[in-house]
Symmetry: C2
Subunit: 486 residues, 2 copies
Amino acid sequence: MAENQNFLNKAFHLLEKSMAAKNYDRENALVVDYRDPKDMAKEIDFDLEGNGRKYGDDELLQDFEKTIKLSVNSGHPHFFNQMFTGHDPYAVAAGCLLECRNTSLYTYEMAPVFTLAEKSVINYLASLTGFGESYNGIFVPGGSMGNFFGLNLARNLRFPSVKEKGMTEVKKMAIFASEQCHYSIGKGAAFLGYGIDAVKRIRCEESGRMSVEALREKVKETIEEGIVPLMVVAVSGTTVMGAFDDLEGIAKVCKEFSMYMHVDGCWGGPALLSEKRRHLLKGIEHADSFVWDAHKMFGATQQCAVFVTKHKDLLKQAHGQAASYLFQPDRYYDVAYDSGDMSIQCGRKADAFKAWFILKARGKKQVDLMIDHAFGIAEYFADLIRDTEGFKLVHEPQCTNVCFWYIPPCLRGNGERDDKWWQRLGKVAPKIKEKMMRKGSMMIGYQPLGHRVNFFRIVIPHLNSTKEDMEFVRDEINRLGKDIIV
Amino acid sequence: MAENQNFLNKAFHLLEKSMAAKNYDRENALVVDYRDPKDMAKEIDFDLEGNGRKYGDDELLQDFEKTIKLSVNSGHPHFFNQMFTGHDPYAVAAGCLLECRNTSLYTYEMAPVFTLAEKSVINYLASLTGFGESYNGIFVPGGSMGNFFGLNLARNLRFPSVKEKGMTEVKKMAIFASEQCHYSIGKGAAFLGYGIDAVKRIRCEESGRMSVEALREKVKETIEEGIVPLMVVAVSGTTVMGAFDDLEGIAKVCKEFSMYMHVDGCWGGPALLSEKRRHLLKGIEHADSFVWDAHKMFGATQQCAVFVTKHKDLLKQAHGQAASYLFQPDRYYDVAYDSGDMSIQCGRKADAFKAWFILKARGKKQVDLMIDHAFGIAEYFADLIRDTEGFKLVHEPQCTNVCFWYIPPCLRGNGERDDKWWQRLGKVAPKIKEKMMRKGSMMIGYQPLGHRVNFFRIVIPHLNSTKEDMEFVRDEINRLGKDIIV
């Protein structure tokens, strides 16, 4: 490895430089230095099929530097495009350590420190959710996978034979989830062999929150159709509108019909860490399982998602295969520390270390403040644009998402807001988005939702978002959008 | 972020130090500085539930340094415990860049460089497998997940309605795999709703290779039972013995019975990169899909696994959900670049960048030499111990795994090798393993397999393994084991 020492030192130096404060400077640093695919291929030689020559270290360092420059600057304070950002420097350091120590979190033998760190985070989370003395958990490669785990545990709890016999030998089952739940529920239903049709979409209130009454009705209908009501997936913080389902209300319905209750808290779960915001997950203690993404509103780098269940042995029961080449029972330590057989993965990154390190580095109090701060900034932004000409809130913020339309001057005035007007409005966000990208001044996402045409969604998962940032967003959208003709 | 700059610089410095050549020095560096769980908890304060105080940077840097020290030194030349090691410095650098640039590989917008790098690796792999002009692929969080993808694509190709309708409305299906296939096939069958019983285990020849004749017989039996023969999972490089299934023979059976053919090349797949070893995967061009782990015999850090299929649209057909908040069709670039909807994940690490960077850094020729070198070293080790007193090969090496028993003096001699003798032999490996761990001089795994009692498995995925390393292994096992009484 010695011959590559020089390269590695230079690469580390470039990375250190990339993390320097000036690259995240609001005034001078770009959020993105966008290139269309064809232009990007002029900057970096991606081809591997040609002569397949060995590139020299100097060329590689150039690629390295360009990759840094041309990748999205997701830690910039004006990046609001996805539900992650900010990348806490403590998480970055922990993540780089994982690369350097390169291991897999399946046995204590191979990952002693990370095994204990993972258990510690799970314990902490279980205490936050009020899961009592009997629980278990594991980090998973993303929140979608955490939802898949919920989908699989539910059927294994109800019909343990499904593991051996498969779905052809059990009754048809239904999964209830709000019509605004994350698309991973559909993906999971398809992947796990339920089929997408097994997901019964429950009507939402205008806020994006699942109607508990509609849920109860749907469950009854489903039973009448001879289908087993297996589980409800409740959402704490929907992807677009940030709605928090009524966990207490849903828990009652689950109890009434003996259904499993999984809570997708990938986005809004961290509200649990804030005294002031915790009420949003009231009733979480009734859940059978819960997932949250520490790489979203918590500052960990991709990926860092954790699944916790109240059923201590269910992960192993549902997923275990006891492969003898990996999980030797005749070990020199207590093999109860080996976590791997609770997973569906074999090799597994020790993402837990990042969450654990952030929690130590920030401490309970600061984490609480950070989460509450993000909520406060979202509220500030909503207040800011509520009465600004040209802006229209899609809804009052519930989490740290704020959804809004920008109405350019060409669409203002007192004319009728008919279908055609809305169709034209739906063309505004994509146009502004392109201008934003080519200018590189900020990044915000947009999407349609149900009957609503394209609107912007700003998400504030940022450690350091300020009121001034919110004012910048408003002003920048105005600058980019005021001359748009749709 | 500025306030944490100082911490980050110091952390990078520690990581740079951890990668220094002296830490991988054969004479002076430990492979592992083992602590039992209780002792480990004395070194590092794992608890998060107590007062939850904020730790200072100095304390955190101490934790950081201890984590480096007390984690397994998996890059050490005497680490042979898992199928990964060596961690190519180019991959480490690329992996750290991914942490610093923190993004998710689902849209070109969010990961322009990584999107093009991924496509490039997929193109290269497809050319190696001879998949022709029509193919597609995606990086997945581990080889197990790649096998799951194969299991899901097979049924979606045969019964496209399974995505919507689920497994209760299709016929019962069978998955054929060798009795020595990886345990992820069973995990996947359970997780995807086939049920473990759907996996029909095919008898292996003594070498660990699936008997094609037994496969054909089993398929016929299954059809007689009224079950649909869906697919065969062939293995290129089994986990324990390193056997390569006869892909051409299996392909014929697949064709005969219209079955999907998935090849699990997680371990042995890189043989494709070596002119001399490529013949081991003869027939790979007949496969419908293929997975290999670049984090195994290729030096990438965890995780870096890639799935390739010959069916261009099948990944999207099977996994796609077209979530409008993420995959806006009205984008400012060609959305065919957006890879996310081919995955079952939402957020996805850009692991592809590591594989791409290694391929550029090493070049075709050097990669070929490295792979061939690892095979050669395994053969050297087998030669070395074949005639050494106290060592007994379980089998002739086929890949870079060498499986062997160590027979301590107390079990040598001309006495009968009856069941009791074998039982005693089975206790040797765990005892030596514990001594090895507590001494920290090397790491090798062991396991039983079928009727065979515990034996050692050394795996050579190492870039830099030498003949002297092999001699060290032999001598060290002798040193650790010669006085053992079982």
